[in-house]
């Protein structure tokens, strides 16, 4: 398949902002046009090919190699195609994304999928803070799509999210699901403190025990049927979500009463 391959050849000395690295932008552009795309190295306008070797043209399939920790806004607002990154990548990966797929074989910075609407992001390593979150002052974070992080994630996972799904394979830090309004967060490795703080609606599922806020009230144990559906969906993404009664059950908590909210947190209790 026709593909555009970018290889980092010069390490940026300050932040490099590259919202042009997006399938939508590259799709109709020639090799020369892609090379000449404007990126911002700090405050200075530069050509993309000053930092990357560019191979290919006119494609919505992008492959990037190199340590992109200082490279931000890759795949911003993309609506289609694929971006695959071999190496670490910096902040705002797939922010405002509205379709397509991003895969990172490495770690990602803060704001992965910030306020994203549609599409899928898969980070094989760790993610930074505010995965799928709302930007400062916004009332709504992620409104759709899926974010998978195989490793750990920082604070405020899914802050103010309304729809969509976030799966953290490792552990999340504080305030996972902060002010959540809907959607689902799956925490395979549990989380630190204040999970679900101020949540209004939505579901947080944790496969490890959580220290909950005092404003969550226990409301029974059960194996909800919707988990069956989730489990099948997650299986296609390579995530195992237990739901059979022989394996254990979920303890359900509702809150956050401080709001007051109608969110739920389900904590898996394996059968002994």
């Amino acid at each position: 398949m026709n593909k555009i391959k970018l290889t980092l050849k010069k390490n940026p000395t300050v932040v490099l902002e590259t919202e042009v690295i997006s399938p939508d932008y590259f799709l109709e552009r020639t090799h020369e046009e892609i090379c000449a795309s404007v990126v911002y190295h700090g405050k200075r306008e530069k050509r993309l090919d000053e930092f990357f070797d560019v191979d290919g043209e006119r494609s919505d399939c992008i492959e990037i190699h190199g340590d992109l920790q200082r490279v931000r806004h890759v795949g911003r607002a993309m609506t289609r195609g694929e971006v695959t990154i071999h190496g670490d990548v910096g902040m705002h990966l797939g922010a405002l994304m509205n379709g397509g797929v991003i895969e990172v074989h490495g770690n990602a910075g803060d704001w992965v999928g910030g306020e994203m609407k549609r599409g899928k992001i898969h980070i094989h390593g760790d993610a930074g803070q505010q995965v799928g979150a709302a930007y400062r002052g916004s009332i709504i974070g992620m409104t759709g799509g899926t974010i998978l992080v195989d490793g750990n994630a920082g604070i405020e996972v899914g802050m103010r999210m309304r729809r969509g799904m976030i799966v953290i394979g490792g552990a999340a830090r504080d305030f996972a699901g902060l002010q959540m309004k809907g959607g689902t967060i799956v925490l395979c490795g549990g989380a630190e403190i204040r999970t679900g703080a101020w949540m209004q609606r939505g579901t947080i599922i944790s496969l490890k025990n959580l220290a909950l806020m005092p404003t969550f009230a226990e409301s029974g144990v059960y194996n909800p049927t919707f988990l069956n559906v989730y489990s099948r969906h997650l299986k296609t993404l390579g995530v195992q979500l237990p739901f059979a009664e022989v394996d254990g059950r979920y303890r359900r908590y509702s809150g956050d009463q401080g709001v007051p909210g109608k969110g739920e947190i389900l904590i898996w209790e394996p059968a002994v």
Binding site: V15, K43, R76
Partner: protein, 319 residues
């Protein structure tokens, strides 16, 4: 979403009959606060002064401020956010049990009493200090208290105000807001202001090494910031403007001594409640003011070729 409900200090002086200090030690850190604004003053609305006011201190330890207070609530360290969220639930009559309250280190009776006093107050004020805003949870802890204050207005008048540190921090915040729309954590690299605390805030930029030059005015990050930030300041060309030789000056390439603002340079300072006060210099200084140095640097920069190149005047879609 809450918001911010606040007032000027004169309103506190004239009207506040219920004063809560949260995570601060005014008796030692803002010694004139009690006498000038919060406790001792009499007003037509509070003719008996201290007797007409109730003061509550919420803190993790019994500081000197506890002696000045009518009620001291000793919260368990790191549980402020939980406590405030519980109070948000309780003012809205959500069912809260003794067990739920336990981890805060307080009893449900204490909280019930606190809630009924808050609701009975005619004019309540929260002052919050670094014990709240700089501990785990940081901006969310402040947001929690601001939200509680906003929600209390369904019952009575209630406001909240941060106890800021020294220097003209508020002034910088106020001016950045009118010039850029944002208080701090701003990047101009694209030719217009963008805001993202955590990404563009000074400490984060320095710790990640995202800058290749530093220009420091009226601050001493070399004394207060984490080591990686200090290391980066030493690595890049750092320029310091300060009346004194600071820790930062010692690791900087350039230090320019300037006249101390308010003592020998005029200007405006903004009080913690954003009320502007004129600075009237009493002494003459042989040194130029910060403003003059910055202006001369700017003039010198204009002599250099324009690095920006052709850019549009205006963008409809920001990054």
């Amino acid at each position: 979403m809450g918001g911010k409900v606040t007032c000027t200090l004169g309103e506190v002086k004239n009207r506040a009959d219920f004063i809560v200090y949260w995570g601060g030690n005014p008796a030692e850190c803002h010694p004139r606060h009690f006498t000038k604004y919060t406790l001792m003053q009499k007003s037509p609305f509070l003719p008996r002064g201290r007797k007409d006011r109730t003061m509550v201190l919420v803190d993790i330890r019994e500081t000197k401020s506890a002696k000045a207070s009518n009620i001291f609530l000793q919260v368990r360290p790191g549980k402020d956010f939980e406590l405030i969220t519980l109070l948000r639930a309780m003012i809205k009559d959500q069912p809260i049990s003794e067990a739920q309250v336990a981890e805060t280190g307080l009893t449900i009776e204490q909280l019930q009493d606190f809630v009924s006093r808050m609701k009975a107050a005619k004019y309540g004020v929260f002052f919050f200090g670094m014990g709240l805003s700089m501990t785990r949870g940081k901006h969310m802890n402040s947001a929690a208290l601001l939200t509680l204050a906003a929600e209390m207005n369904a019952f009575t008048k209630f406001v909240a105000m941060p106890m800021r540190g020294h220097g003209n921090v508020t002034g910088a915040d106020v001016i950045m807001r009118w010039q850029t729309g944002y208080p701090f954590g701003i990047s101009f690299n694209r030719g217009y202001p963008r805001y993202n605390p955590g990404e563009f805030s000074t400490v984060d930029v320095l710790v990640r090494g995202d800058t290749d030059c530093a220009f420091i005015i009226g601050a001493d990050p070399g004394a207060t910031m984490p080591q990686p930030a200090i290391d980066h300041l030493a690595k890049v060309p750092t320029i310091v403007l300060d009346p004194h030789v600071t820790h930062t000056s010692k690791l900087a390439r350039v230090h320019i001594t300037t006249a101390p603002a308010g003592i020998s340079a005029p200007g405006t300072a903004y009080r913690m409640d954003e009320i502007p006060l004129p600075l009237r210099p009493a002494l003459k200084s042989p040194y130029p003011s910060d403003e003059e140095v910055v202006r001369r640097i700017k003039e010198a920069l204009l002599e250099k070729p324009d690095w920006m190149g052709e850019r549009p005047q205006m963008l409809q879609n920001q990054i």
